[in-house]
Symmetry: C2
Subunit: 213 residues, 2 copies
DNA sequence: CCAGAATGGATAGTCAAGCTCTCCGTTATG
DNA sequence: CATAACGGAGAGCTTGACTATCCATTCTGG
């Protein structure tokens, strides 16, 4: 297929497809003559993936590029997923050293209790988590950090379900793609479900609570 | 205190504090003379909250403004939390009508099973969830949507813990603030924990899996 | 076969968000 | 009273993600 159809099938405007080509997010089509190219269904799929990562996952295009390179690279699935997690987490906001220290301690306990591997700070996932916990304390919400253990237990359970999503796939490529999608969309889906559930319990617990004034 | 100290205590540059004042995110200080003002610890707290919502929660400043207005407004806590959820979800990406229809059906079952309240599409929370599910199907990842029920059960459990975080607070203001922080930071914290747990199971399940080539 | 539409490629322009910088007249302070 | 800080307002800057315009080539329908 050519540009117009690629655009139509993926729902991405022609000008934007050209932009993605320039940025190296979409591999060039196969040349049919010095200045004409032909695109494959794989290009359509790739565009759909880019849309999912940006629109639903909220990733900046630069991160999408890194993720796509990781997918196309020849690392192990485990390492590839690591890259995806780093990009999804993004750069961590910086917090005061003391608050980070304290949050780090809390986190270490939880990690040990669950038998997870302890990562020295430096990874984006870890740093973001520490920053979020430190921020909660700075705002005086210690209740939130006190429940960390309970959240961690449930996170373990969620991760077990996540494994079920990729388990049973045979090709390494399939596993990686499924893993990426599950990681990126999974966060959004779970957050949405949590919000629906919160709405429910919020109505039960403080549904009729009076306004302030 | 005056500008310089407000800036120092909150960690927000003076120019940025002025900008927030202009944008109405920060209420003006108390006038001491026609063109001098005095700020209170409440201003410091407010700035910290703004930082948390933008840096950790990833909210655009416009949404922060809406959330702050909701906090200051005199609606019930339940309604206020609804506003926060809407802003946190943000505008939903648009997906094809058929995919949305299908995702909506899946979601309806899950909502009924859990005894949640069904919201007609139109709310940002619902629309985002539908869009994420629809996107998963468009990418050919049906496994993810098949597990929706399991995720929903766990989301319920998480929401129950969330209630524990705000339960026991007496003042309505405290409940609202805690609710906002728990909603915004809670998503980030849980996502981080989930990633750590995924890392763990990923290592167990496909830790030694071979690269593609 | 040829007129007109489409293609690929490159460059420049646009738009919003979120600051950041510079002035300026006023006010506090050692 | 000299000088530093303040508040307020406007313009300017940077990044990200497109979008628009050209242009020389290539495809396509009558």
């Amino acid at each position: 297929m050519r540009m117009a159809e690629l655009s139509a099938q993926s729902g991405v405007p022609v000008a934007t497809v050209k932009y993605y080509l320039r940025e190296g997010l979409l591999p060039p089509g196969e040349r049919t003559s010095p200045n004409q190219a032909r695109y494959s269904p794989a290009h359509v799929q790739r565009l759909r993936l880019i849309k999912a990562l940006t629109d639903v996952g909220g990733l900046p295009l630069a991160s999408v590029g890194v993720v796509l390179n990781a997918i196309d690279g020849d690392e192990t699935p485990h390492r590839t997923m690591g890259v995806v997690q780093e990009e999804l987490a993004g750069p961590a906001p910086k917090v005061s050293a003391e608050a980070a220290e304290c949050a780090s301690g809390l986190l270490e306990d939880v990690v040990r209790e669950n038998g997870w591997k302890w990562h020295e700070p430096g990874g984006a996932v870890m740093d973001n988590l520490v920053a979020a916990l430190a921020t909660a304390r700075e705002l005086g919400q210690d209740k939130l950090t006190e429940r960390l253990g309970e959240y961690a237990r449930l996170a373990s359970r969620v991760a077990e379900v996540d494994v079920g999503v990729v388990a049973g796939l045979t090709s390494v490529d399939k596993i990686i793609e499924a893993g990426v999608v599950a990681t990126v969309l999974g966060d959004r889906i779970f957050a949405g479900l949590r919000h629906l559930a919160q709405e429910q319990v919020s109505r039960e617990v403080l549904g009729g609570a009076s306004p302030k004034r």
